[in-house]
């Protein structure tokens, strides 16, 4: 393919050629802002200034209320994982980042639970579909915690223990009948 070269001639006359005037005009704008903002800033009236950037990390913008954050796995009353390894969340996950290996539980009232539960936070697109899909309120994304930085990919894969460490008791119930509805006479 032929390269297209567009030649722009320098403007005529030394005034325009030196760009001196243009530079000074620009500096003038900056200086004007400075003069307007720094006294207010100094007097602690930053809100009245024109500054739109934040002094991160001293200042942080609050997240919107719908912010999700890191996943966590919820617990039963006895501290066991609520997840029943139903595979709804890996089925719903568009990023294929949830891996579950189910196993049989000795407790016949539980029957099935995850032996391995991993989420690859590097792949996760934080869509929340896993939470929507879960029929047991076993997985939540309500921690608001950023995925922490890591230097190795493997560190970004959260395992069952880590996900459970942020977990709490969930008393969500099935079919609107109340907790332990099976036990009720």
């Amino acid at each position: 393919m032929a390269t297209v070269v567009k030649i722009v001639n320098r403007p005529a006359g030394w005034k325009r050629r030196s760009y001196l005037w243009g530079t000074m005009q620009g500096l003038g704008v900056t200086f004007g802002h400075l003069m307007r903002n720094w006294p207010r800033n100094l007097l602690g009236r930053r809100a009245q200034s024109d500054i739109v950037t934040l002094a991160y990390p001293e200042e942080k913008r609050p997240y919107p209320p719908r912010n999700r954050g890191l996943h966590r796995l919820m617990k039963r009353a006895d501290g066991q994982v609520r997840c029943v390894a139903c595979m709804m969340c890996p089925t719903a996950c568009p990023a294929h980042c949830i891996s579950i290996v189910p196993e049989e539980s000795e407790d016949p009232r539980i029957e099935k639970r995850p032996r391995v539960f991993q989420i690859d936070e590097l792949r996760c697109v934080v869509c929340g579909l896993c939470v929507e899909a879960c029929p047991c309120d076993a997985i939540r994304m309500d921690t608001g915690i950023h995925a922490p930085p890591s230097t190795r990919r493997a560190d970004a894969i959260l395992d069952k223990e880590e996900l459970l460490s942020r977990g709490e008791l969930s008393v969500a119930v099935q079919a609107g009948e109340g907790l332990f509805w099976r036990e009720r006479k």
């Binding site: 029943v84 390894a85 089925t91 189910p102 196993e103 029957e111 099935k112 047991c136 509805w181």
Partner: protein, 527 residues
């Protein structure tokens, strides 16, 4: 009625009837349900199964017949002349929904942990015909969740909808009355007959026919959800019957084998032993070519194999033997027979295979090899037997051997000067061989087996071959090239077509259409 023309008697008589306002004609003797299925009208059912008797216990298939005061079970009622049937009147839809509500009254709705979810008839019918919230706010009748019924099966009595399909499989297919119903009403439950266990050789068919997740196979239980699986049509390699199957696999691992209906071979069934043959596909596999006990590249291993075989052939072709196996596909057998005849120039071609085992007059053959018929057709009359092989090895007639396929216990291989083995599994032959080449197994290749009835049946590749394993015909072609052959094969179909041309008794066999794995996510309920 007087003056009405009677339908002509005899088995070929046809009846004329009206379904949902449309006139249809059916052969007499069909049930209304079958007639509806023939013309594509959906009538839901639970207890009816095409391969079993119809006791009409679930009442899910009710339809209205003009002139009858009550809805009638369509699975049980034969078609008759001038019948007028309605399958979608408000009354039918209402009783259909009421029957579902009744079935669900004490159902635990365990779907998240139920192995049947995704292929459950109760789920499907509920979403198709009811889809309303439960009106029951009382407590449900609780029954046992984990009942060990036998070697292969676990029962969840709560999930059972009491359709008796499993009982009929035991009685009518396995011909052993292992299961019975106990108690009545909402306490009714399925259980084993007194003093028995569900241990018949066809017990896993009960899991397939169970319309819900009440019966689960210990082998498959909790390992996968149905929609994660991919189904590939194939043939069971367990014996000479050649039951048609579906291989259900996920991420290159086979998870279960399911019978595929074929009225001429296995109807709707297969034996438990055959179902578990898939395990061997993932056990002790030879995954890389080996030269002198160390892994080598394909090129190096093939070169060395060709050198060994060529030097044995050039010394004296009568001391070079080729052992084929009745476990191999027709394509592999044909390619190796050709290699033996044209390029190894030996007449010592032996046929080995798995030893005979138990049999019955239901499905299981004593011959535990899937392709004995095919091997005999392709190998022809000059094939020698495993006994000849043993003898020839003992007397030292053979000094070099090309051993192909899974041939257990062929005899002592110690006396051989050179041994080239093509096999799928680790074992004594691999340990004794100078060159061992990894062979792909039945679930990993496209090919065909000829069953004991002489039916040529297709296998389709469900998973990728283990490690570097390759199909037998492809290895034969490569060996042939190294030995100076001009023939090449691009795919199994080409070998098959050539075999059909050359072998008279295979002419007319059909390769069929290509099949690729289908995800069960799109396959709906299998009931």
């Amino acid at each position: 009625m007087a003056g009405d023309r009677q339908a002509p008697p005899g088995p070929r008589a046809n009846v004329k009837m009206v379904i949902d306002g449309q006139p249809h004609e059916f052969p007499a003797g069909l049930t209304i349900l079958e007639a509806c299925q023939r013309v594509g009208i959906v009538v839901p059912f639970f207890c009816w199964h095409p391969g079993l008797s119809a006791p009409a216990v679930c009442r899910q298939c009710l339809v209205e017949i003009k002139g009858f005061p009550k809805p009638i079970p369509s699975c049980y009622t034969p078609v008759a002349d001038k019948m007028e049937i309605s399958t979608n009147s408000p009354k039918v839809l209402d009783v259909r929904r009421q029957m579902l509500e009744f079935t669900l009254l004490n159902h635990p709705i365990d779907c998240p942990i139920c192995d049947k979810a995704g292929e459950c008839m109760l789920q499907k019918h509920y979403f198709d015909w009811d889809a309303r919230f439960a009106r029951n706010d009382g407590s449900k009748v609780r029954k046992a969740k984990v009942v060990d019924l036998g070697r292969h099966i676990v029962l969840d009595q709560e999930r059972c909808i009491l359709c008796t399909r499993c009982i009929r499989v035991c009685n009518e297919v396995a011909r052993q009355a292992d299961l019975v119903m106990a108690f009545r009403g909402d306490r009714q439950l399925l259980t084993v007959a007194p003093g028995r266990r569900l241990d018949n050789p066809y017990s896993l068919n009960t899991v397939d026919v169970c319309p819900v997740g009440a019966l689960t196979a210990k082998d498959f239980r909790f390992s996968m959800r149905a929609w994660e699986l991919w189904a590939t049509p194939s043939v069971c390699p367990g014996c000479a019957t050649g039951c048609n199957i579906e291989i259900h696999s996920a991420r290159d691992v086979i998870r279960r084998l399911i019978p595929r209906p074929n009225p001429a071979v296995n109807k709707y069934w297969m034996c438990d032993e055959g179902r578990l043959t898939y395990r061997r596909v993932h056990q002790d596999r030879l995954v890389a070519p080996m030269v002198a006990g160390a892994p080598a590249s394909w090129d190096a291993a093939l070169g060395e194999a060709a050198r060994l075989l060529a030097s044995a052939r050039d010394k004296s072709p009568s001391t070079l033997g080729v052992v084929l196996s009745t476990q191999m596909t027709n394509e592999d057998l044909f390619a190796f027979t050709r290699l033996a005849a044209e390029h190894l120039r030996t007449e010592r071609v032996y046929l080995a295979g798995a030893p005979e085992g138990w049999c019955d007059d239901i499905l299981v053959s004593a011959d535990k090899n899937p392709n004995t018929t095919g091997a005999k057709l392709i190998g022809g009359l000059t094939l020698r037997t495993a006994t000849d092989l043993k003898q020839d090895l003992e007397t030292g007639v053979l000094t070099a051997l090309l051993l192909v396929g899974e041939a257990d216990a062929v005899g002592s291989l110690g006396s051989l000067q050179s041994l080239v083995v093509l096999t799928s599994h680790q074992g004594a032959p691999v340990a004794a061989a100078q060159v061992a080449l990894p062979l792909a197994m039945w679930a990993e290749v496209d090919g065909s087996f000829t069953n004991r009835q002489g039916k040529v049946q297709r296998l389709h590749a469900a998973i990728t071959p283990a490690g570097q394993a390759r199909p037998g015909w492809a290895i034969a072609a490569r060996l042939g090239q190294a030995l100076g052959a001009a023939w090449r094969y691009a795919n199994a179909k080409q070998v098959f077509s050539e075999a059909c041309e050359k072998i008279m008794l295979m002419s007319g066999a059909d390769w069929g259409k290509p099949e690729i794995p289908v995800q069960l996510r799109f396959a709906n309920s299998r009931g």
